[in-house]
Symmetry: C2
Subunit: 281 residues, 2 copies
Amino acid sequence: MATHWSLPPTDALRADGLRIADLDTSGTPGFKGGKKQASGYQAERAQVLSGLQEKLYANGRSGDYRNILLVLQGMDTAGKGGIVRHVIGSVDPQGVDHASFGVPTEEEKQHHFLWRIRKALPRGGQIGVFDRSHYEDVLVVRVHNLVPAKVWEPRYDEINAFEQELVGQGTTLVKVAMFISLDEQKRRLMERLERPDKYWKFNPADIDERGYWPAYQEAYQVMLDRTSTEKAPWHVIPADRKWFARLSVTELLIDALEKLNLDWPPPDFDIEEQKRRLEQA
Amino acid sequence: MATHWSLPPTDALRADGLRIADLDTSGTPGFKGGKKQASGYQAERAQVLSGLQEKLYANGRSGDYRNILLVLQGMDTAGKGGIVRHVIGSVDPQGVDHASFGVPTEEEKQHHFLWRIRKALPRGGQIGVFDRSHYEDVLVVRVHNLVPAKVWEPRYDEINAFEQELVGQGTTLVKVAMFISLDEQKRRLMERLERPDKYWKFNPADIDERGYWPAYQEAYQVMLDRTSTEKAPWHVIPADRKWFARLSVTELLIDALEKLNLDWPPPDFDIEEQKRRLEQA
C-alpha cells in the first residue's frame, strides 16, 4: 500500500468536515497512480481482501460474533451495484450477506424504519452488504417529505444509537457515500438508453430525481454531519472514476478486517488424537 | 465446448441408471482434457456463466419469476464449499441467494421438513444455491434413523411433488451429487488436521460418519433412483478431482441458463422520449 497511496484511504476519504459542494467527484484523493496503475493493484488487493474474509468467515463458524457491515449510499448510477459485483464479488459468496433496500413494502411501512434493517443484519463472520440502507429514511424520505419532519428529524439520533448498538455487538461498520457529478450521471443514464443490455437498469423516475439534486446534496451533507461518528464514520468516495471507487472500497474493507486482528481459530479438539482416529477410520 | 467434451456434461453426468458402487470417483466423464486444459477453459466458461447470469438477473428485475436452484449434496469434504467459492464466486453476488442447511434448529424441527427449505427459495432472476438441502432429510436422517421410517419413507414422493411445483413456478433445478472415495476423504480430513488454516473446518464427528459410509452410499443410491425425475434430474459428479467438479457444475449451470433462452429485457419506456427528457434534465 505504501507505494500507491500518499495517505491511508481511511484518512483520505474521511467525511469529517468535508463539504460535498466542494468535492471533486472526479478526484482520486490519496491515490498516487491512475487507472493503469490501479488495474493490477486492484487484483492484488482483492486477493488480500479475500484472504482476510476467509479468516473472518472461519472465526464466525467457530462462534465469533464479529462481522463487517458495508453500507453503500449514493445517487442513481453512482456505482453501488458495481461495487457489489466487482469488490464483493472477489470474496467467497458463502461469507456474504447481501441486502438491498428499495421502496418499503406495505408491511415494512407499518413498522419502525429500522425493522427491515434489523432483519437483514449479517451473522457473525459475514460481510454484510447493504445496497442502500436505513439512510434512505433521511435521504429520499427527507427530500420528498414522505413523512413529516417531526418523524424523520429524530432519525439521525436513532440511527446513531442503533449503530452504536451494532458496534457494541461486534459489528464494524464501513459506511461509504459515493458521489458523482450531475454531468457524469447524465452520461451514465444516457448509456442506459443507448445500450439494449442496459435498458433494464433505466427508470424514467431517475430523470425526475435529477430535479431534486440540490435537495439531495443538502440531505447528504446533513447525513454526513450528523451521523459520521467516531465508532461509525462515513467515508466519502468521489465516484466518477469507477476504478477509484472500487479500489477505495476494497481498501476500506481490508482496513476494517485488519483491525479485527484475525487469526485462524484454534482447534477445539486434540489434533494428535484425531489423527490417530482418522488413520483407523 | 465442442472441443473439450466428447459428450455434453448434462449427458455425461446424468444419474439415470448409474450405480454409485461402480462410479470411479477420480474419473472425468465426458471431458477430453486434464487439469491443465481445464484451467484456462474454466476461466473462459466462468465468463460465459457470468454473462448469462447477468441476463437472468436483468429479467428478474424486470418481473420474470424464473430462476435457477443449484442443489449441492455430498459427503463431508466432497467440495460443496469449493463449488460455491469458485463457481458461484464467478457471478455477481447481487444475483445469488445462498443458503446452507445444517442440523435443524429446534424451531425447524417443529415444522414439516420442507418449511425451512421453502423459506430459502430464491427470488425470480436469482441463482439460488443450497449447500445441503431437503435431501438431508432422506440421507443423514435415514442413515441415523433420526425419525421413524414411516416418516422419512414418504419424503421421496413429497420431494418429487415439491420439485414439480417449483418447476411449474419457473425454477430450473440443477441437482448435483458429488462423490469422493473413502481414501480421498481421508486425505482431505487429514489435511484439515495438518494445516492450522484448516482446523476450523474439522469436526471430530466427521470421522464417526466414515463408519456409516456404506449406509450413506445406499441412501444416496435410493435418493438418485427415486428422485431423479425428467423435470428435475440428478447429476452425479466424480469429485476426487476438484477442477473437474468445478468445471462440471459450471457447465451444468450454463446449460440450465442457456435453455431459458434469455434475452435482455425490452424497454418499458419510449427510448427517444427519455433521451429528450434526459438532455434537458
